[in-house]
């Protein structure tokens, strides 16, 4: 992890700035990948997927069968 220069407390306003433009797309793609994974593990009604993830779904309180 690259270390960043120590920010002053007063620079907190800066930290609230929007993520930089070139970061936007990777953030969105990562979020979308996360959603796809969650759908497969938590929601998909394909029977083998459901059965494999069954205990995990019950534990996470996802609506299941």
């Amino acid at each position: 992890m690259p270390s960043s220069p120590v920010l002053l407390e007063t620079a907190q306003a800066q930290t609230q700035s929007k993520a930089s433009k070139s970061d936007f797309l990777p953030i969105m793609v990562s979020g979308l990948l996360g959603l796809i994974l969650l759908y497969a593990a938590g929601f998909s009604d394909i029977a083998p997927l459901h059965n494999a993830a069954h205990d995990g779904r019950h534990s996470a309180s996802f609506p299941c069968h």
Binding site: S22, S30, G31, A41, H54, D55, S59, S61, H65
Partner: protein, 224 residues
């Protein structure tokens, strides 16, 4: 432009976070969650011997054998959920700012716990197999609306600048519960109420640990 470094760092952080949190969750589930599920399945199977019993599992399709195979696939599912939640959390964190330290992550973890577990569970409590429930699609829809509502509501409560927007956040938090979750016409359960309650307690605890680990680890691995 696509910042590949950001993408690589986010995905790497999420993979490690999901792996570790998923393994931790699997370990915790063995204490109370899995034993309760297995007990409930016995009740469910006994109940489905009766010809007119309504609920049953999909037994025709492949399913993992009880024992190590089942534990293995549950672990895979837990890690998948962990990585999925971590990717989503990392992305949402970054919309604000990359975290300073793991302690900030605990707050994000708490928000995730409230959004993805506590809020939907208020209307649709975690249930053991063999519990009569409303139509699956209706429950999934209510679950999804509740999660979106709660997530957005918490965001507004935490970050909105004006009182009006914060108030709107509070309204969003309450809305799905005022509407109410879809309930079965005749609630019934093959498992005794005591077992259903101990399952709820077990999941409340297991998911709290899971989410705090997710938040803390993700902030640690994805800090500035």
């Amino acid at each position: 432009m696509f910042n590949l470094t950001t993408f690589r760092e986010l995905v790497t952080a999420a993979l490690w976070t999901g792996l570790l949190a998923g393994l931790l969750l699997t370990a915790i589930q063995q204490i109370q969650v899995i034993p309760a599920l297995l007990k409930a399945e016995v009740y469910e199977q006994n109940a489905t011997v009766v010809p007119d019993a309504g609920t049953s599992h999909e037994h025709s399709a492949w399913q993992p054998e009880n024992g190590w195979e089942r534990t293995f696939f549950t672990t895979v599912a837990n890690i998948s959920l962990g990585v999925g939640f971590a990717l989503l959390m990392g992305a949402i964190m970054h919309l604000r700012t990359r975290p300073d330290n793991w302690r900030i992550g605990l707050l994000w973890g708490l928000a995730g716990y409230l959004t993805f577990f506590v809020a939907p569970s208020l209307g649709l409590p975690p249930e053991v197999p063999g519990t009569e429930a409303a139509n699956l699609e209706d429950r999934q829809t209510w679950w999804l609306i509740t999660v979106l509502d709660t997530g957005f509501g918490l965001w507004l409560l935490a970050f909105a600048k004006t009182r009006t927007n914060q108030f709107f956040g509070a309204v969003l938090l309450a809305a799905p519960h005022l509407i109410g979750a879809p309930q079965p016409e005749v609630p019934s359960s093959a498992a005794p109420a005591e077992l259903a309650h101990s399952f709820i307690t077990a999941t409340v605890f297991a998911n709290a640990v899971f989410w705090l680990a997710l938040g803390g680890l993700m902030a640690r691995f994805y800090k500035k």
